[in-house]
Symmetry: C2
Subunit: 216 residues, 2 copies
DNA sequence: ATAAAACTTGACCAAATGGTCAGATCAGTT
DNA sequence: AACTGATCTGACCATTTGGTCAAGTTTTAT
């Protein structure tokens, strides 16, 4: 069977994905410089030379990892737009971001690392995609404020607070777990965290907060 | 003049401090592995061999830097305790933490980096000093809640939100500046950020928020 | 079947980097 | 001036590491 023009999903594609997954974890744990291609190859279960067959340089691999994170981030951003009223929009955005912190902590860490080190790889994205998304969403929030639907604050600080707080549970998971007697959050604790974050932020900008979460 | 038993402040002490300042900046920008003792020495204006005369290993130097940050962090924690009522305590704590983000962004970044990489150096502090401080402050907040002085939330999530949000302005300064047309915050913007952060958090937990800031 | 293309890998290399060291220089003491 | 201990530094070394390469092996196309 020639498999026609289709890529055989079980070889090239899957192998690259396996390498990317390993890379995400190692980069998250050790940072760009701290990570070695040898560690990544070991975790992926292949020789280092083979890794370099698929990703010519460490930078190329890292770049791919960061790209993936950014896509997830943008996907979460969508959930902001699907609701009409301020409370629902913020709630579902926070829900989604907390979910990402739980399901993709490594990605979040890589992103944080990249940005704190001056975003050498993704500066373009910051200046274009991220900047545009942020500006337009600030406008939306501002219009809600102008319509008297929520309290007057600078929208950008609201967004930063949402980003910072939700990502804290991924980026600082080690600290959070240490303060939780070394245990990772269980379902109930994640639910409680999400609820409290939403409660404080929604109430904080003068929106009504229903109480329990509607997801999961 | 023999200078008696006093250390000559212009030599050893000051030199070490100069090295530490340089180290803080380099470690913040490049992470532990990414930083080289050569870079630090260059920034401090001394030969690498001289740096190793004062700090035998890179780890020892890094360890000192992290220690310094932690002291600053604890100092901020004090400002929480000097107020009686919830609103004042939280306000002055947030004020202080925003001040630190502005004045010691490098320190904050080093701390963030250390924690996201699993706190290999300061794990002890997390488990002892930080854990104790956090637990006791959670109790204080809980008592305020029990007395009906603020809304019912899990105190730990309030603390995490304060940490995450205030430190965001240091750790993610690059992103914040990029979204601010590449400009660093000016005095007014820092004031506005501080006000909005306090407004959202205080209001968010059911406390009264006066409005303008009382410091600076 | 056979040729071509894609993939795999052990061995290797050049550059970077943490740390050493012997000798030079400086400051304080007598 | 002579001595002593602290400080300074250029040259050097061992290790780590990103990346290469030639020699295979496997898969695909004809």
């Amino acid at each position: 069977m020639t498999n026609g023009n289709f890529k055989k999903p079980s070889t090239r594609g899957e192998k690259k994905k396996a390498i990317l997954t390993a890379a995400e974890k190692i980069f998250a744990e050790y940072g760009f410089k701290g990570a070695t291609t040898q560690m990544i190859a070991d975790l992926a279960g292949i020789p280092k030379a083979n890794l370099h067959y698929y990703f010519p340089t460490k930078e190329a691999l890292y770049s791919q990892v960061v790209q993936t994170i950014f896509d997830i981030w943008l996907e979460a951003a969508d959930s902001f737009d699907q609701k009409e009223d301020p409370a629902s929009a913020l709630e579902s955005y926070i829900d989604k971001k907390m979910e990402i912190s739980r399901d993709h902590p490594n990605g979040s860490k890589v992103w944080a690392n990249e940005v704190t080190h001056g975003a050498p790889i993704i500066q373009d994205y910051l200046e274009t995609t991220l900047k545009e998304w942020t500006t337009s969403r600030e406008a939306v929030i501002q219009s809600w404020i102008d319509e008297g639907r929520m309290d007057k604050i600078d929208p950008k600080h609201l967004l930063y607070m949402i980003w910072a707080t939700t990502q804290h549970y991924a980026d600082f998971v080690h600290q959070v777990e240490t303060l939780n007697d070394g245990q990772p959050f269980d379902d109930g604790q994640w639910q409680a965290a999400t609820r409290d974050v939403k409660k404080i932020i929604l109430t904080g900008v003068g929106l009504k907060f229903g109480g329990d979460d509607g997801n999961r």
